[in-house]
C-alpha cells in the first residue's frame, strides 16, 4: 500500500507529463481538496470519479468510443486556489467539463468561472444553498450533492420523532456550513414541533482544538437532544472529548450528528470510542442490506477498486457526479457544454442508491443521505449504522 503510494508519487512527478491526449478524449477537470484536513474526503471522492471513468472507458467510452480522461488538481481547500486551478484547467488543459470542488467556499467561487467560460460545472460535495441560489444560478452549474437545507430538515424530521424531547440545543461550527445547517434544522423543527424549546447554541470555531468548555457549558443547560454538524476530524475530536465527560449519557444519546458523523471513516477512526447509540448520517454505507441490487453491485466493485473490504463513504460523491455528466453527454449526444447543460435539465439517471433527477428549476439533485442509529455490531470492529435509511429528500426541497 505504502510502496504503491510512493511509486504513484514518483510516477506522478517523473513520468505522467501530459501525453499528447488522443484527440477524441473527453477531458474532465476535477478540482478537489487533496491536502490538509479535507483530503480525508476529497481523496476518496476522486477515487469514486476515477472508478466511474474506468468503468465507462472499459465499456467502450461514450459517443462512439470517445474515452473520458480525468484531470485532477489540488484546490488546497482555498477558494482562490480552486479558482486558479479551475481556470488553468480550462485555459491550459482545455478541459471540456468541470466536476469537483469541496468546501462551501470553493463551489460558489468556481461557479462564475464556469459561467464565464461556458463550461458545465457539476459540484459533487458542496452543500451550501448559495451555490444554486436564484441570483447565483446560471445555465452551466449543477449539483449532485445534498444541501444544507436537505440535511438540516432531514435531521429535524428525526429529532421531532425522538421521545420525551422538549429542550433542544445545537453544537455547530461558527461559519457558513454550521450556521446554515443549524438554521435549517431549527426552522424545520419549530414547524414540526412548536412545543420544543431551544435552550442552548454553542459555536466552536472551525478547527477548535479543545471542545471541553463548549461541552461543559452545554451540559449545564440540560438539553434533552442536540443537533450537530461537526464534520470529519472535527466530529472525532469532539466526540472523543465529549464521551468521557458523560455528555452523550446526559442527553440519553439523543444526539443527531449531521456532517457525515456516521461515515465509516469516522467510525473506523474511533473504533470502540464511538458514541454508539447516537443518530448520524453518511453519504454511503457498505452494509445496506435492504438496498437495491445496484448498490450492492456498486459496493462490490468499489471493494475491488479500492482494495478495501469496508470501503469509504465518499467515493459515491465523485461517482454520482461523473454519472450525471456522462448521462448528460449521452443525452445531448455531444460534448458541447451548451447542449450538455440543456440535456442535464430534469435528467434522470441510475445512481447506485436509485434514480436521481437533476431538477430543472434549481439544478439540484434530489440527493439524499443515509440516516440511522449508530450501533456496535460484533461483526465489525467499529460502529455501523443499524437499519440504515436512505432518506429520499424531495419533500425537503423547496
Amino acid at each position: 500500500m505504502r510502496v504503491r503510494r510512493l511509486l504513484g508519487a514518483a510516477c506522478a512527478f517523473a513520468g505522467v507529463l501530459p501525453f499528447a491526449a488522443a484527440a477524441q478524449d473527453i477531458k474532465v477537470g476535477f478540482p478537489m481538496i487533496l491536502s490538509g484536513p479535507g483530503a480525508l474526503s476529497g481523496e476518496p471522492a476522486l477515487r469514486g470519479a476515477e472508478m466511474l471513468v474506468e468503468e465507462v472507458n472499459a465499456a467502450g467510452g461514450v459517443l462512439n468510443g470517445r474515452k473520458l480522461r480525468l484531470i485532477a488538481r489540488d484546490t488546497k481547500g482555498a477558494a482562490d486556489e480552486a479558482v486558479r486551478v479551475a481556470r488553468e484547467m480550462i485555459l491550459k488543459d482545455e478541459v471540456n467539463f468541470l466536476v469537483g470542488t469541496f468546501t462551501s467556499a470553493e463551489g460558489p467561487a468556481v461557479s462564475p468561472i464556469a459561467k464565464e467560460n461556458q463550461i458545465v460545472f457539476i459540484a459533487p460535495v458542496t452543500k451550501t444553498d448559495q451555490l444554486t441560489a436564484p441570483d447565483k444560478l446560471h445555465p452551466y452549474v449543477f449539483r449532485t450533492a445534498s444541501t444544507t437545507t436537505i440535511e438540516g430538515r432531514s435531521a429535524a424530521e428525526l429529532a421531532a420523532k425522538l421521545p420525551n424531547v422538549k429542550r433542544v440545543a445545537t453544537m455547530t461550527q461558527d461559519y457558513a456550513y454550521g450556521q446554515d445547517t443549524a438554521k435549517a434544522f431549527l426552522d424545520h423543527l419549530k414547524k414540526l414541533r412548536p412545543d420544543i424549546e431551544v435552550v442552548d447554541q454553542q459555536w466552536p470555531k472551525l478547527g477548535e482544538a479543545d471542545y471541553t468548555p463548549f461541552i461543559n457549558a452545554q451540559m449545564a443547560k440540560k438539553p434533552d437532544a442536540v443537533f450537530s454538524s461537526l464534520w470529519g476530524g472535527h466530529f472525532v475530536t469532539f466526540a472523543k472529548q465529549a464521551k468521557p465527560l458523560g455528555y452523550f449519557d446526559a442527553i440519553k444519546n439523543n444526539f443527531i450528528g449531521a456532517g457525515e458523523a456516521g461515515a465509516i471513516e469516522t467510525a473506523k477512526a474511533m473504533g470502540s470510542d464511538y458514541p454508539a447509540g447516537i443518530w448520524a448520517n453518511s453519504y454511503d454505507i457498505s452494509n445496506w442490506e435492504s438496498g437495491p441490487q445496484s448498490h450492492k453491485d456498486y459496493i462490490a466493485r468499489l471493494r475491488k477498486f479500492t482494495k478495501d473490504e469496508n470501503p469509504s463513504s465518499w467515493p459515491i460523491t465523485g461517482y454520482v457526479a461523473m454519472q450525471a455528466l456522462v448521462a448528460g453527454i449521452k443525452k445531448a449526444n455531444s460534448i458541447d457544454s451548451d447542449k450538455v447543460a440543456k440535456a442535464l435539465l430534469d435528467i434522470t439517471f441510475d445512481a447506485p442508491t436509485g434514480q436521481i433527477t437533476l431538477r430543472g428549476k434549481d439544478h439540484n439533485a434530489n440527493r439524499g443521505q443515509f440516516w440511522g442509529l449508530m450501533v456496535m455490531d460484533p461483526k465489525y470492529p467499529f460502529a455501523v449504522m443499524a437499519e440504515a435509511n436512505y432518506l429520499e429528500p424531495t419533500k425537503f426541497m423547496d
Binding site: D174, E208, G233, H234, V236, P244, G246, A269, D273
Partner: protein
C-alpha cells in the same frame, strides 16, 4: 451562575489550556533559546501523533502499551529534530532570522507530504489507556482521569524545565547561550552540541504533545498547521523566552475562551487573537517577558 457551573467552566478552560501548552512548551524552548521561529514545530507534533498511532498498532491497541507508544513517538520525533538541526538548520543560524522562518515553512510542506505518503489521508484514533479511562465527579462536574493527567502534567513539565534551566549547569549554559552565543563559545562550551540538544529537546516535547493528545483528538492531515499559530500566540502572550510565561499564557487563554463563550457565544474564532492583541497593546513584551532593545 451557580458555583458548580463556574467550576465546570474553569476545569474546561484548564483542559483546553493544557492541550495547547503541551505543544507550546517545546516551541517556547526553541524560540527562547535558539531564537528560531520554528514553524515546523506543528509538523513535529503531527508526526508525534502519527508515530504514536503506528506504535499502538504494532503492539496492539487498547492496553497500557499506549505509554510505550508515547515515549517511542517522542523519542522518534526528537531524533528527527536532531537530524534536521544537524544537517540543515545549523547552517542558517548566522543568517537573518527570516531565512530560518522560510526554511521551517518549507519543512512544514515537506513533512506534511511525507506524512501523507506514509499514512495516507484517512484519520486515525488512539484510545485512552485503560488505567486512565475512567472519570470522577467534583462539584457536579465530570473530570475524566485522562484530562486530570494532562492538567497535572503541564505544571510538572513547567516545573521540570524551571529546575533544569535554573538549577543545573547545562541549564545555566543554555540560558547563557540564549543571551550571548559567541561569548559562551569563547568560554569553551560546545555551543553546537548544546544547540542540537536543545532542538532535540524541543522536538521531544512536540512529539510528546502530539502523542499525548491522540486519545482526545483526531489524527488527521492538517493538524500541523491548525495548531501552530495558536501555539505561537500562547508563547508570545507569555513573553518571549519565559517558560512560565508560556504556561500562564496557556492558562489565561483557556480561561478567556471558557468564560468568553458564555458572554459572547460567537467569541471562539476571535478569542486567541483578541487576547494577543490586548496583551501586546497593554504590555508590548508579553506578560512575563522583559523589554528587548530594538
Amino acid at each position: 451562575m451557580e458555583p458548580s457551573f463556574i467550576f465546570g467552566q474553569f476545569v474546561g478552560g484548564l483542559t483546553a489550556a493544557m492541550t495547547l501548552f503541551l505543544i507550546a512548551s517545546g516551541l517556547s524552548l526553541i524560540f527562547g533559546v535558539l531564537r528560531v521561529l520554528n514553524f515546523a514545530h506543528g509538523s513535529f507534533y503531527m508526526i508525534g501523533a502519527y508515530l504514536a498511532w503506528q506504535i499502538v498498532q504494532w503492539i496492539g491497541p487498547g492496553g497500557e502499551g499506549f505509554w510505550l507508544a508515547v515515549l517511542g513517538a517522542a523519542v522518534g520525533v526528537a531524533v528527527l529534530g536532531g537530524v534536521i538541526e544537524r544537517l540543515l538548520l545549523r547552517h542558517l543560524y548566522r543568517r537573518e532570522e527570516l531565512y530560518q522562518l522560510l526554511f521551517t515553512y518549507a519543512l512544514v510542506l515537506v513533512i506534511a507530504d511525507m506524512a501523507k505518503l506514509v499514512w495516507g489521508t484517512q484519520q486515525f484514533g488512539v484510545s485512552r489507556p485503560p488505567s486512565l479511562a475512567g472519570s470522577f465527579q467534583v462539584f457536579d462536574t465530570t473530570v475524566p482521569h485522562y484530562n486530570l493527567f494532562l492538567v497535572l502534567l503541564g505544571p510538572a513539565i513547567a516545573l521540570g524545565f524551571w529546575y533544569f534551566l535554573n538549577r543545573t549547569r547545562t541549564g545555566r549554559m543554555i540560558r547563557a547561550a540564549a543571551l550571548d552565543r559567541e561569548m559562551l563559545g569563547t568560554l569553551g562550551a560546545n555551543v553546537d552540541r548544546l544547540y542540537t540538544g536543545m532542538f532535540m529537546l524541543g522536538s521531544f516535547l512536540a512529539g510528546l504533545g502530539g502523542a499525548l493528545v491522540t486519545p482526545i483528538k483526531s489524527i488527521i492531515p492538517g493538524m500541523d498547521v491548525a495548531i501552530i499559530v495558536e501555539a505561537f500566540i500562547v508563547v508570545v502572550i507569555g513573553g518571549l523566552g519565559s517558560f512560565w510565561g508560556t504556561f500562564f499564557g496557556a492558562i489565561i487563554y483557556g480561561q478567556v475562551l471558557s468564560f468568553g463563550i458564555l458572554i459572547f457565544p460567537r467569541f471562539s474564532s476571535f478569542a486567541v487573537f483578541a487576547l494577543m492583541a490586548a496583551v501586546l497593546i497593554l504590555r508590548p513584551w508579553g506578560l512575563f517577558g522583559r523589554p528587548i532593545s530594538r
